[in-house]
């Protein structure tokens, strides 16, 4: 790349245009100072400290960015705890736990890699970075398996999600009775995921679920705009336009109330009988949810996909960065005098790890 800045001035920091080209030590440019020192810094220490400060500040922005998602998570979980209690069963805790261990191990290898770079142990550094890469790709592989298994069961992000309001859901667009079709599909899914026992199992009164279905359809219909009182302001509308015009702000008492208040206040005869079973530790099924929560159940998956998706994007960026410093360390670019990129990429990788440490229990380990 042409460097217009340097022109005739040999002390300019032309090396910064092409990071991959140096580190060989045999660079053509004649410096009167350390080879990696940019022209506007006085000492390598000042440059290193600046880079580190910049990285920490950048990591603060990352935390704030994920902070928005954590806030959304907290708000929905606070207002709708049953959804999380129910829907987290669709996540595979074992795979999540393996991924947690993998990321923790890769954080360890990259931290050790920084030390290897500081001590000039090139082979060890390359090995550790390759191990870190392996961990990162392993994490993404398992993540891909998890996502794929969700997709094959129609647990998509967005409006194609199985739990999405059936009248808006393209999946059930052709069904005569979209609601019934959705319930049927969900029942099969629950059986597959072991949330519900086989046919006739599960202690929910009635082997054929059609008996339970009927009142629930009625309850869902209660939430129509025409009958908004019954839904006490937080019901679901079948289409977007009427709902847009209504205020959807939860009254404080209901928002904080959670399951039991709504159940008792709204539909005691239908929902309350299930409560002891849920409280006693039996797995909550979709039909145990109050109707207002049933129509929101997809929100768990939306938040799951947004959080893990944004995290996965960060993992991918991290893999790119680690590949870049692996190549550079293979060429011997780093040593006791200069290891800034290893240090900074390591910091970034720790942050990616740290965010997963929060995501895993918040999404997978819900009780």
């Amino acid at each position: 790349m042409q460097d217009p800045e340097t022109g005739t001035q040999p002390t300019q920091a032309s090396q910064h245009h092409d990071a991959g080209a140096h580190g060989q030590g045999g660079d053509a440019h004649a410096h009167d100072h350390a080879p990696h020192l940019a022209h506007h810094f006085d000492t390598p220490t000042q440059q290193f400290e600046s880079g580190k400060l910049g990285m920490w500040v950048f990591l603060a922005t990352e935390i704030l960015m994920f902070g928005g998602l954590f806030a959304a998570y907290g708000m929905y979980r606070g207002n709708h705890p049953e959804i999380y209690l129910y829907a987290h069963h669709y996540l595979d805790t074992t795979l999540g736990a393996i991924n947690t261990i993998i990321l923790l191990a890769s954080s360890f290898t990259v931290a050790w890699g920084v030390r290897a770079a500081q001590k000039g142990q090139r082979k060890l550094l390359v090995t550790l970075l390759l191990l870190t890469l392996l961990g990162g790709f392993g994490f993404m592989g398992i993540k891909a398996i998890e996502y794929t298994s969700k997709f094959t069961h129609d647990l998509w992000p967005g409006s194609a999600n199985m739990f999405y309001n059936p009248t808006l859901n393209p999946m059930f667009a052709d069904a005569n009775d979209p609601r019934a079709a959705q319930l049927e599909a969900i029942r099969h899914l629950e059986e597959y995921y072991g949330i519900r026992g086989g046919h006739g199992g599960g202690g929910h009164g009635g082997g054929h679920a059609g008996a339970i279905e009927q009142p629930r359809i009625t309850l869902t219909d209660d939430a129509d705009p025409g009958d908004a009182e019954a839904a006490s302001g937080q019901g679901e509308a079948p289409g977007p336009s009427p709902a847009v015009e209504r205020s959807m702000i939860n009254p404080p008492a209901v928002g904080a109330g959670g399951l039991s208040e709504e159940a008792l206040g709204e539909a005691p005869s239908h929902v309350a009988p299930h409560m002891p079973a849920a409280a006693a530790g039996a797995t909550l099924t979709y039909e145990d949810l109050p109707p207002t929560e049933q129509s929101r159940a997809h929100m768990f998956f939306q938040i799951y996909y947004m959080m893990t998706g944004l995290h996965a994007v960060h993992v991918l960026v991290g893999l790119g960065l680690i590949s870049w410093i692996t190549v550079r360390s293979f060429r011997g670019a780093f040593g006791p005098a200069y290891y800034t990129p290893v240090d900074l990429v390591g910091l970034y990788w720790h942050l990616v790890d740290l965010i997963w440490i929060f995501l895993f229990p918040l999404l997978y380990l819900i009780h």
Binding site: Q2, E5, H39, V57, M65, P157, L168
Partner: protein
């Protein structure tokens, strides 16, 4: 004014004809587009940002013209149906707001003046991360391109309606706030492109903030402690804190909004089980602090100008410095005052109202310190000072009316009326734009090595001041009488308000064009600027105008930036010079007052 044909250094000696300066250091378009020099990046920002300022101004004039009569003024003139005319108006105020906020007000002072002046003020050769700096300019351009795309689609769709079926709606009609669920499910305009534009611009802003924090921490000149930083840098530092802590929240909000529009995830849509008020919380958690991203740098510029043109040490240095930081931190705690009528709990309303009042304290501290600095000063009414004095007056009005809006009962009456439009234009335009123009005139000699035309500068400042007040003062009256904002039509009794306001907008536009003409004319014909035309002692004046490629021929040492005694007026160059016997930046002969430590 003596016409001196030759550029001079800080000692008043003529510079050699082949003296290095950053403008002529290298040539060719690539030497600009690939530059890592903070000054050139600042100039590129200037060109881009002023272009978008012009675009946003055109929208402003169109919407003011639309409001000349209660009917659809422009729409009728060009033969639109009533419905089309009102949609056109919705797009005008949305695009005016979005372009001005995201592309002009937020970046203008930090990205132009901050980029050019900040490294020089700390005596450095560049910002800490020059490549990141260039990257943030490119991000700005990409974000701006998204908005141009939104605009182009809007124009093309209106010319060839069939195109809308091909590539979807154009323009933008959500209001600059992108409120859901209108933006997520109802609006037929190019919301996604605009959202991505704002998202990318946010990253430009974040990277600038990261750069400024690292530069101020790590690259200060020897002997330049934190309390020898010019107050402009304290303001930029406080701004950078907000940029890095608030902007990521906007980023995630816009991502969620885009996901909602593309995939239908429904987090903000009540029809899908989401909560639209959550969007407002997220949006204002960024956008209220963003108000301080807009106005804090303006405070910094004003501190420099007031002290400089009063020929007096700034009064209450530490109070001004810490009040910037206090505003930055308090600014994070008041977002709920945008949502007093959005169904927040009464307790939240009371707390947010109280916290809103508390922001007035550091703001008032600044105003009192500026006025006290002027007290018994030897005031020079040059163009920058005229803008600064206009700033103090307009900011005081804008700030005090903010207290009206922070009061719960009053806010319910004036919410979403022209009162609020007038309030934030006093703060955004009256304050930020005046400080920006003042700062541009103040540093114009440093940036380009040419003096602007003082007479026409003063005239423009007066015209802008009159035009601004004509436009917006009357809107307080209209708003308090019940004229709602964002309406294309109004009751006939409001016509006198609207006509006055529209005439004021034209006057304002004329004033701004006079500024532009002045700058362009001065770039070509202006006399060479002395190194230090104002006698200010901050480090950017300790080098030639325009500065050499690496800013200083000899690394400067820090000293009290507001101690002007070692600069002596030299009438042959109409500027201030140092005594060559006394090295630049040497300690002042007097015992250092407490604020210098």
């Amino acid at each position: 004014m003596s016409a001196n044909p030759q550029a001079t250094d800080i000692y008043g000696k003529p510079l050699p004809a082949d003296a290095d300066n950053y403008l002529t250091h290298s040539r060719g378009i690539a030497s600009w587009l690939l530059t890592l020099d903070h000054k050139r990046i600042g100039i590129m920002y200037m060109v881009a940002i002023l272009t978008f300022f012009f675009v946003g101004g055109v929208f402003a004039l169109l919407l003011r013209t639309e409001l000349l009569t209660p009917e659809a003024t422009i729409g009728t003139a060009v033969g639109m149906s009533e419905d089309e005319a009102y949609r056109f108006y919705n797009q005008m105020f949305t695009l005016h707001g979005a372009v001005m906020v995201f592309l002009f007000i937020i970046p203008a002072i930090p990205a132009i003046l901050g980029n050019i002046i900040l490294p020089m003020m700390v005596g450095a050769k560049d910002v800490a991360f020059p490549r990141l700096n260039l990257a943030s300019w490119y991000l700005y351009m990409i974000g701006g391109t998204f908005f141009l795309w939104v605009l182009a689609k809007g124009v093309l769709n209106s010319l060839f309606p069939a195109l809308a079926g091909f590539w979807g709606g154009g323009g933008l009609d959500t209001g600059w706030t992108f409120y859901t669920p209108y933006s997520s499910s109802a609006s037929g305009t190019a919301v996604i492109a605009a959202v991505f534009g704002a998202f990318v611009l946010g990253f430009s802003s974040i990277l600038t903030g990261v750069n400024f924090i690292a530069t101020i921490h790590m690259l200060r000149a020897p002997n330049q402690g934190w309390f020898r930083l010019p107050l402009f840098l304290w303001a930029l530092y406080a701004t950078a804190i907000i940029q890095i802590l608030a902007t990521p929240v906007l980023a995630i909000t816009l991502l969620l909004l885009a996901a909602e529009r593309i995939l239908g995830i429904g987090v903000f849509d009540p029809a899908r089980g989401g909560d639209p008020v959550l969007f407002q919380h997220f949006f204002w958690f960024y956008s209220h602090p963003a108000v301080y991203i807009m106005v804090l740098p303006a405070f910094g510029v004003i501190s420099e100008i007031i002290s400089s043109f009063s020929r007096k040490h700034i009064f209450g240095y530490k109070f001004i410095a810490f009040s910037s930081v206090a505003i930055a931190l308090l600014g994070f705690l008041v977002w709920g005052h945008h949502m007093f009528v959005s169904g927040q709990s009464a307790a939240a309303n009371v707390i947010f109202s109280l916290l809103t009042f508390s922001v007035a304290i550091p703001s008032a501290i600044k105003v009192f310190n500026w006025v006290t600095t002027m007290y018994k000063g030897a005031i020079r009414l040059d163009t920058p000072m005229l803008f600064a004095m206009g700033f103090i007056m307009l900011f005081t009005i804008g700030g005090l009316t903010g207290l009206f809006l922070g009061a719960l009962a009053v806010d319910i009456h004036v919410h979403d009326t022209y009162f609020i439009v007038a309030h934030f234009h006093f703060v955004m335009v009256g304050s930020m734009m005046f400080a920006f123009l003042g700062g541009m005139f103040y540093w114009f000699p440093k940036m380009f090595g040419k003096m602007y035309n003082e007479f026409w500068g003063r005239v423009a400042a007066a015209v802008i001041f009159i035009g601004f007040n004509l436009t917006f003062y009357i809107q307080f009256v209209a708003g308090s009488q019940g004229m709602p904002r964002r309406y294309a039509t109004y009751l006939p009794e409001f016509q006198v308000h609207h006509v006055t306001s529209t005439i004021g907008a034209y006057v304002l536009a004329i004033g701004l064009l006079m500024v532009l003409a002045n700058w362009i004319h001065s770039l070509v014909k202006g006399r060479p600027a002395p190194a230090n035309p104002w006698g200010h002692n901050s480090l950017e004046w300790h080098t030639a105008s325009p500065p050499p490629h690496e800013n200083f021929l000899r690394a400067p040492r820090g000293s009290d930036p507001y101690h002007f005694d070692q600069w002596h007026y030299d009438e042959t160059i109409d500027g201030y010079v140092l005594d060559p016997e006394q090295p630049a930046g040497a300690a002042a002969p007097q015992p250092a007052p407490a604020h210098q430590r």
